[in-house]
């Protein structure tokens, strides 16, 4: 990014310069409008020739998000230039397309349309060089590690590459997310990528229970370091919640309906899983409590504690007294969150009223049973 203009006095351009600038701009606008008009004329006449292609090039170099022009460009290629073309010539033309795309990426590295056209080119050509694509997208993520277009494209490229070469890239990609998270852990895309890869990694390595636990414990350590560094950063808390609740069966930490099924497939003892999960929840609850002592007003801390407590109550068939204690604590947390997180007051009020009403329902029933 260019900061060299920061901290400098803005010198107001003289009226003369301003007039000159406006005139120049007006000419540019006129030229652009003419270009677009003649391009659409070509499209209406179904002229899929080189001149049409050159027109789209000119327009897209100024405005890479003009999707009608992209669509026309694909038509020109398919119906005109590439028609009855040798395989070699097709390859050449599409390579030139890729070079063009790389050039206009400079204008916008977050353009859906450039990425879309790039995928189309690669899929239209024979044996595309996926390794080069991976390098390219690595560069993109060096420039901006939080560009989610680039992360999505990376997933696409790695799946293609791994398919083409019949080699797994899971570990490499998992390590890549570690690198990016270490550089700046406030990166939803990187954590998200990690959550996609972790179950695959466990599956691929065919880890036993102990190894799996070790790997997942390391993940918990990682987010914990993030919490202590910056408890206000949401991205690590979200990953943490995913770790706790990982819906994917391969993590088998969860006792949601889905994992109940899968665990029965794996023929595991359900009660062991429940007790493990309770242990996990209790462990995380005490972790959050420790942090809360240092950061009593951290809303993410409080919110996570409430979520963990509610989940603990849900899965552990504890006695009524325990449950009621948990309810009381969650209500206290809600009260604090209402004060701290002004933008979400209603949400916590809602949660609190739900707990209170559930509590009032439970009590008479239990008394009847006695």
């Amino acid at each position: 990014m260019d900061y060299t203009h920061h901290g400098q006095k803005r010198v107001k351009p003289s009226a003369e310069i301003e007039k000159f600038r406006k005139e120049k701009e007006a000419t540019k606008i006129k030229e652009y409008k003419n270009l677009v008009a003649s391009c659409f004329q070509k499209r209406d006449k179904k002229e899929f020739d080189k001149d049409a292609l050159a027109l789209t090039t000119k327009i897209l170099s100024q405005n890479p998000d003009f999707y009608s022009i992209w669509n026309f460009r694909r038509l020109i290629l398919l119906e005109g230039i590439l028609k009855e073309c040798s395989e070699e010539d097709t390859r050449k033309t599409l390579s030139t397309e890729l070079d063009f795309l790389q050039e206009i990426f400079q204008l916008n590295r977050k353009s859906y349309w450039i990425f879309n056209h790039r995928r189309w080119c690669l899929e239209t050509m024979q044996n595309p060089d996926w390794n080069m694509e991976l390098q390219l997208i690595g560069k993109f993520l060096e420039i901006d590690a939080r560009n989610f277009h680039a992360w999505g494209y990376r997933r696409y490229v790695t799946s293609k590459l791994s398919h083409a070469t019949e080699t797994s890239l899971i570990q490499i990609e998992f390590d890549f997310t570690t690198t990016k998270i270490n550089q700046n852990f406030s990166n939803y895309s990187a954590w998200h990528q990690r959550s996609k890869l972790l179950p695959l990694l466990i599956k691929e390595k065919n880890l036993n229970e102990q190894e799996k636990k070790k790997l997942i414990d390391k993940e918990f350590e990682l987010v914990k370091a993030a919490f202590y560094t910056d408890p206000d950063d949401q991205s690590a808390w979200l990953y943490h919640w995913w770790l706790v609740n990982g819906q994917d069966s391969t993590i088998s930490m969860s006792l949601s309906e889905k994992s109940k099924e899968s665990s029965s497939i794996l023929n595991q003892d359900l009660s062991i899983i429940t007790s493990e999960r309770i242990e996990l929840l209790q462990h995380e609850i005490s972790m959050v409590r420790e942090l809360l002592e240092l950061e009593p007003n951290s809303k993410w801390c409080l919110q996570t504690l409430a979520n963990l407590l509610i989940e603990l109550k849900r899965i552990s068939e504890t006695n009524i007294e325990e449950n009621s204690k948990i309810d009381d604590e969650v209500i206290t947390i809600c009260d604090r969150l209402i004060k701290i997180d002004k933008f979400r007051t209603k949400r916590f009020e809602d949660l609190r009223s739900k707990i209170i009403s559930a509590k009032s329902l439970v009590k008479p029933v239990s008394q009847e049973l006695e």
């Binding site: 900061y3 550089q183 370091a225 942090l291």
Partner: protein
């Protein structure tokens, strides 16, 4: 026939091409003042310069008094009714330096064909300042001579700063370099890492940024939180004055301990490696400390994950030349290797009116800006309190921590028997300081013991295999220890004419900030109505810039 200047009257004459003088030269010429810039040395930079290896040896010899210098045998006299005070540059400069010692070490690698190398060594020696080499090589063993030969052979690949400094990514100097356009003449590298020494013979990477804190394996979770909480506060400390209320004048370390529970190793890191205080902790009060810390934190993230930049090819002399270039572009006249015989003072007004140069030509100006070395002896006063800085330039054969281009290592007070913090900058070939397979260590600390060597030797022993036969450490080839004074206005007599503007020596700080501020203040004192190096029209500016 010596070169005579056609123009003999100037708005400002500047003596010395050191850092502060050069910035002033650029600023004054740019506002349209006529500037004559002279330097007795044949090189730019004055006491801020950088030398190749051979020049460094010559310089060390000169300061030790082993090389004869033509001393200004001038007497106070009268010239056209003005009092003519003799200058004595060489003598005064030499007095600023003391306890100069150097050592050349035998390299571990033995050459097979020793005879041949001795012969080629002989050849090379003839090409250099023979007096120096003769003196240096006397008493050396053969392996030591071999080291000397290697160093001399690669001499020109060294750019050794005699007052090495780095620059914060956000600070006075960097803004000045950007605004003045001088930055375009220079190349930079980021300072990769900071290390701190702890008493158990370990060096720790100092976690400075959020990323460092997150990934650091040596900082406990609790310390991560304490440190981050403090750093977040310090970045914006002026907005929460209640946090330091009552601590303003108290020592910074007390504030950190009491308000943020920062103690032990973490406290050392914050004080000496992040706040970079150069003195004892209790000499810095909370407001000063917070200001320094904030400056450091604001510097992070501007040019990557580094708070400092290193200028390539030697910092101060390159920067000085950049400003001199600006000055020359705007009409400043330059003469190096041009000494001054007398300064002329009008006795009735006690004003400086001009000077007599080496050719006997009279040159006059409204103002004289000068480094202290050019001031006549009777306008100086002995200052017992004058701060001194102990420095060392050490050439080694291997990096000390990791293979980085530029690192900073800090020894907190008392960690190796040192009274004040010791800083060690390590530069590699990547900073264009030395040849490919060598590294340079620049050590410095405020003077406390008998000599520069005494002040720095114990720290050097922890880094380099200098005496302890620890072969896991890198080996030294050469070490130069020296001490210099930091002379400022307290070294001047009250008789000094008002229109003589004096620049300070390089200070003990790691950066150029105080020196840059001095240049600006002196300019504003001289010409309060002129703008100091205003942003010029940027000719490359795109008219469709999004700015």
């Amino acid at each position: 026939m010596p070169q005579q200047l056609e123009v003999t009257e100037y708005d400002v004459i500047i003596l010395g091409t050191g850092f502060v003088e050069s910035i002033l030269a650029g600023a004054l010429a740019k506002t349209g003042k006529s500037v004559l810039h002279l330097d007795t040395n044949e090189y730019y930079g004055g006491s801020w310069t950088s030398f190749n290896f051979r020049e460094l040896l010559d310089w060390a010899q000169l300061l030790q008094g082993h090389v004869e210098e033509s001393s200004g045998n001038c007497q106070e006299t009268y010239f056209e009714g003005k009092k003519a005070l003799p200058t004595n540059f060489s003598k005064i400069r030499r007095q600023a330096y003391s306890t100069i010692e150097y050592e050349i070490y035998a390299t571990l690698k033995q050459t097979d064909n020793a005879e041949e190398s001795e012969e080629s060594q002989h050849k090379r020696e003839q090409n250099t300042s023979e007096e120096t080499i003769h003196h240096v090589s006397t008493g050396l063993t053969n392996p030591e001579r071999e080291t000397l030969t290697t160093l001399l052979k690669e001499s020109r690949q060294y750019n050794l700063d005699i007052a090495p400094k780095i620059m914060p990514c956000r600070g006075e100097l960097i803004e000045l370099l950007i605004n003045s356009g001088v930055g375009r003449y220079l190349e930079f590298k980021a300072l990769d890492r900071t290390y701190i020494y702890s008493d158990q013979d370990n060096f720790y990477k100092v976690p400075c940024s959020k990323e460092d804190v997150f990934t650091s394996q040596t900082v406990s979770l609790i310390d991560k939180r304490k440190l981050m909480r403090f750093l977040t506060f310090a970045l914006d400390f002026t907005t929460s004055p209640e946090t330091f209320d009552g601590y303003e004048e108290k020592p910074y370390d007390i504030f950190l301990k009491e308000k943020f529970q920062i103690d032990g190793k973490l406290l050392s890191a914050v004080l000496y490696a992040i706040t970079l205080i150069r003195t004892k902790a209790n000499d810095v009060n909370t407001i000063q400390g917070l200001t320094y810390t904030q400056k450091y934190l604001k510097s992070l993230g501007r040019y990557g994950n580094a708070a400092f930049l290193v200028a390539l090819y030697g910092a101060a002399s390159e920067i000085s030349q950049g400003f001199c270039r600006i000055s020359a572009v705007f009409g400043g006249i330059y003469m190096l290797n041009h000494s001054v015989k007398h300064l002329l003072i009008d006795e009735s007004s006690n004003n400086f009116t001009g000077l007599i140069d080496v050719n006997g030509q009279q040159l006059s100006s409204t103002y004289l800006i000068t480094a202290i070395d050019y001031i006549p002896e009777n306008l100086l006063q002995e200052n017992e309190e004058c701060e001194q800085i102990s420095r060392a330039i050490v050439i080694i054969d291997h990096f000390i921590h990791e293979e980085d281009d530029a690192t900073l290592t800090i020894f907190p007070p008392d960690s190796v028997g040192n009274e004040y913090p010791i800083s060690v900058l390590q530069f590699s070939e990547g900073t264009r300081t030395c040849p490919e397979d060598k590294y340079v260590l620049y050590m410095s600390t405020k003077a406390s013991g008998e000599s520069a060597k005494e002040d720095l030797y114990k720290a050097l022993e922890k880094l380099v295999n200098i005496s302890n036969n620890d072969s896991s450490l890198s080996s030294p080839l050469f070490a130069l220890f020296y001490r210099h004074k930091y002379r400022d206005t307290t070294s001047l007599s009250s008789l000094l004419p008002n229109n003589i503007i004096v620049t300070n020596d390089p200070d003990s700080s790691l950066d150029f900030e105080a020196a840059t501020i001095q240049a600006k203040q002196l300019f504003e004192k001289m010409y309060p109505n002129e703008e100091f190096l205003p942003v010029g029209p940027d000719l490359d500016d795109d008219e469709f810039s999004l700015d």
